[in-house]
């Protein structure tokens, strides 16, 4: 926590800091395994993870697990580098936080029971073997209970290497350029309006992942995630003492390289006058009138709700009760009875999942079980048609897949954040499919006689994903098809089935926008997914007053 505002600006850094920065060396996980082991060295592009924890380490873990009785085992070595820049006008030069973690995780399946051991840091073949043995031994001990049949859905043996398609590795970009891009962006937005606060958070992630399974798959991937948030805060209004806040729609988390930040910072500059106008205009709101409304959600608001409702409810492990004491269950609780018949929402609702869209924050070539993720339709014209699955989970749905003539394979939603986090479901990229007609947010507003328009914001759901609530960054009243003033305290409250059945209109393809979302299932670090959505009109939603005090 900084309580001493700085007295200098970024420009000083660029003058005084350049020489020092030029000498920057980066911590190297390879140092230990190279001949010059004990000296710091610059990051060499040709160096690979294999130099430190190579095939011998992976092999040792797998061999030990299988020898100790595992019928299946897989192992991951994951090296994550993460850099975060925060810049708030009024504070000082952005101080990046810099983190590097390396580890190994091995998973063993014995008589239908999973064991897992995760080890931090550089792991030798001997340690890896011990971890593999322990995972199998633990699973064997757990398997004394009722026998359990785990059928892993078949997946082809794969070998290969893949890297997120990027132009520029952000970890090769100089610190000066990073400081300059963030600082200049903030300065430019700040210049647009007096007394505005501008905040930027930039996160750069690079993960090198090696995976090997006892079935023979060996993959190496380098995944990049980059982006963050840019937001403006309007000064307090003299009459209401309220400030206004608006976050960028175009600067978000994505699966890309440094080129994204260069492009997006241009787009944010174009968007900034509108953000400022929105934030200024929101400071004299009318208190909400509690009741039922027709709600027009912009793409960001509905992307949020999609992510916390259908995006979570279609996680099959939740649906099958495997997360009942942890993240929760799902109201889509009987997959085999519901698939193909259950009405999730109105016929306008079609939701697809993929881990392949360009720039998607959850995009990769192989998931953490070595599966090439397939694009799937979770909800088609309102009917539940699939869940997010892993290899084990796909087999739970086998009767359904066989009935509809689809191969029983994983959708590729297995994931672990770091090597020492045990495997669970990873949210794929989600797409709320646009409607056939080119309808925009403004046209949806025009169609609405009396209602509210929800712009941005956040939403939450309960442990069964059945009941949710949320609020907008800014909420407007809609009167006779026009945006009237802003509203304060509006909190929409919904029950998922009714809410999505109230979907009467969706925006067209041109109104689609994509947002990166953090998912915090893994605890504090979280994983990322992209959600593409279009503006929607949903009728008859209950709206409460969250500012009502006793």
């Amino acid at each position: 926590m900084r309580q001493h505002p700085a007295r200098f600006t970024r420009r000083h850094v660029l003058k005084t800091g350049a020489v020092a920065l030029a000498a920057t060396t980066l911590p190297s996980r390879w140092a230990a395994a190279t001949p010059h082991g004990d000296s710091p060295r610059a990051l060499l592009p040709e160096t690979t993870l294999a130099n430190v924890m190579g095939p011998d380490v992976l092999e040792a873990a797998l061999h030990a697990a299988i020898t100790a009785g595992a019928t299946y085992a897989d192992v991951h070595v994951i090296h994550t580098r993460r850099e975060e820049w925060q810049y708030f006008v009024g504070l000082d030069y952005p101080a990046p936080w810099w983190d590097t973690t390396l580890g190994l995780g091995v998973r063993a399946l014995v008589k239908g029971y999973w064991g897992f051991v995760g080890l931090d840091g550089v792991v030798t073949p001997e340690m890896a073997a011990a971890a593999g043995r322990t995972a199998a031994t633990q699973a064997t001990l757990a398997a004394t209970g009722k026998p359990r049949i785990v059928a892993l859905a078949p997946t082809p043996v794969v070998t290969g290497t893949w890297t997120t398609p990027i132009d520029i590795d952000p970890f090769t970009v100089s610190l000066e350029e990073k400081a300059d891009v963030i600082g200049a962006l903030n300065d430019d937005i700040e210049r647009l309006s007096i007394n505005f606060g501008v905040g930027t958070l930039l996160t750069l992630i690079r993960q090198d992942r090696t995976f090997a399974s006892s079935e023979g798959s060996v993959t190496t991937q380098t995944l990049y995630q980059i982006g963050g948030t840019v937001s403006v805060t309007a000064p307090r209004d003299w009459r209401t003492n309220l400030s206004g806040h608006r976050a960028s729609d175009v600067f978000t988390m994505t699966g890309a390289g440094w080129e994204y930040v260069r492009q997006a910072s241009v787009a944010v500059r174009e968007e900034a006058p509108r953000l400022i106008e929105d934030a200024l205009g929101s400071r004299r709101p009318k208190p909400v009138d509690v009741g039922r409304y027709d709600l027009v959600f912009d793409a960001k608001a509905i992307a949020n709700i999609l992510g916390t409702s259908i995006g979570v409810a279609t996680e099959v492990d939740r649906a099958m009760g495997y997360e009942a004491n942890r993240v929760g269950t799902s109201y889509l609780s009987d997959p085999l009875a519901m698939l193909g018949t259950y009405t999730v929402g109105s016929p306008h609702l079609t939701v697809t999942a993929n881990r392949s869209m360009p720039g998607g924050a959850a995009t990769l070539q192989w998931d953490d079980e070595g599966v090439v993720p397939r694009e799937t339709t979770l909800v088609e014209h309102g009917i539940l048609t699939d869940y997010q699955t892993t290899r084990e989970a796909a087999s739970w749905l086998a009767p359904y897949y066989q009935q509809i003539g689809t191969p029983v394979v994983s959708n590729g939603c297995a994931g672990m954040y770091g090597a020492t986090d045990f495997m669970q479901q990873h949210s794929p990229n989600l797409v709320l499919q646009p409607g056939p007609h080119e309808v925009s947010f403004a046209e949806l507003v025009k169609q609405t006689k009396k209602g509210l328009a929800i712009v941005g914001g956040e939403s939450f759901a309960d442990q069964q994903v059945l009941n949710g609530y949320g609020s907008g960054e800014i909420v407007y009243e809609i009167v006779h098809g026009k945006l009237a003033g802003t509203i304060s305290g509006a909190q929409f409250v919904y029950r998922s089935p009714e809410f999505w059945k109230g979907l009467v209109a969706v925006g067209g393809a041109r109104s689609a926008q994509t947002f990166g979302q953090w998912r915090s299932r893994n605890g504090w670090q979280g994983t990322l997914q992209s959600i593409t959505a279009v503006p929607v009109l949903i009728t008859g939603v209950a709206v409460m007053d969250m500012l009502r005090q006793v």
């Binding site: 926590m1 800091g17 810099w98 633990q138 099958m320 269950t329 309960d462 009941n467 915090s520 969250m546």
Partner: protein
Amino acid sequence: MFVAARPVLERAQLLQLGQQILAMTSADTVSVYVTHTARVITRIANNRVKSLDDGDTLRIEIHTQYGGRAEVWTSTNQITEGTLRALVAQCETLARAQIGGEELLHKRQEPDMYVPVALWHETTVAGMTAARDTVVPALIERVRQHGLTAAGFVGLMARSTAVFTKEGITAVGDETDSEVTITAQTPNGTRSGWAGQAARDWATIDYQHVADEAARLALTGKEVQAIEPGRRTAILGPAAVVQLMRYFAQEFDAYGTNMGQTGFSKASGGNKIGQRVFDPRITMRSDPADPEGGYYSFFSQGFGNPAMTWVEQGVLKNLAYSPDYGPTQGKAYAENPLSLRIEGGPSSLPDMIAACAEGIYVNRLADVSLLDKGSGMLSGVTSGGCFLVRHGKIDRPVKNFRILDSPFFLLNKLEALGPTARAPFGYTPPSDVEQYDPRYTWPRRPMIVPSMLVRDCNFSSLADAV
């Protein structure tokens, strides 16, 4: 991996590591933090072991600062000499490039304030190797005997933590912790009961009792009925109270309070120290040497962690002044109370039910999120046992509610307080403010809270999730 007697780095190893890193540095101020955590976690679902999750996590943070420049930190989980050298070099390069930021503060660090705490229990360490094979099957069997389906969590962990600074501060501590929670579901999936226990000493956990409690809550009464939401008297069990108090550490932050951002801020500016803020029966303390709710006797860069009384008989006594902010205000520093003890009262849970003409008994709250720090407004849903109480008896199970209320209101509408217990947290999804802070992942610092009978709790809507 836990064949060794000690699953985490020992004091001598930590000291050696600290000295090794400090010797690599040249900055004006340097702090090194090392945390090594070993965990043995078993997750249960559908009456079976769902997953085993064992391992260790090492975290090394290096903070450096040059005079007049901002502090910079870097972190890693790698312990090799080469990596550490490179990390120090990176950190110092960044720190030299900083401008602005804090002046070099010679903060008072008071190693003599470190009080002896006993957070390490060999019984827990022994449990890490032994408990899984006996406890987990027994838990599942116990729930199954009730005709129910068990989901659950059995976690044990050991951790050692150290802080080293260039000025010569050395603070080393170790701790163990454990938690057992069970969700028992009826076969038709219409009802569930949740129970748990948490303790630093694994030997004190009565896991059979946890299973029985969860089952009892799932089976008490017959059909679940929906009743009207609204303001109602509430009997809140410790697992519900602890969720309401989850965000309270932030409320005691002195800087935020003086800036008008918390429930202890005065509308006219400043804070409410000396004013009555809660019912006179409410007393809140934090003490690193608390036998149930203890924690490390140092924090941050090795500052001594004082025992604090925050609220005494309803009157706000103290706020947490950070080591940066305290000296500027002429105040002694303290850490925001991540661990809190709320004094209890004489009414047992059965007493409260017997004294209640009509109300709702809430066993636990789930998915509680903070809506507004200034008023403490929270939203969460009742789960794992929610009952209508009428005429001094549990009348019937009712559908879950969403609660929209604030501890600042509820603690002023107190009817009765029950005995205290270290409340189990269970799984709580980290909120925005928490998700980058490992202190909020399991295990959280212990919270010791009583059950409470409060009137006019705002059950704002039905949330008919099971």
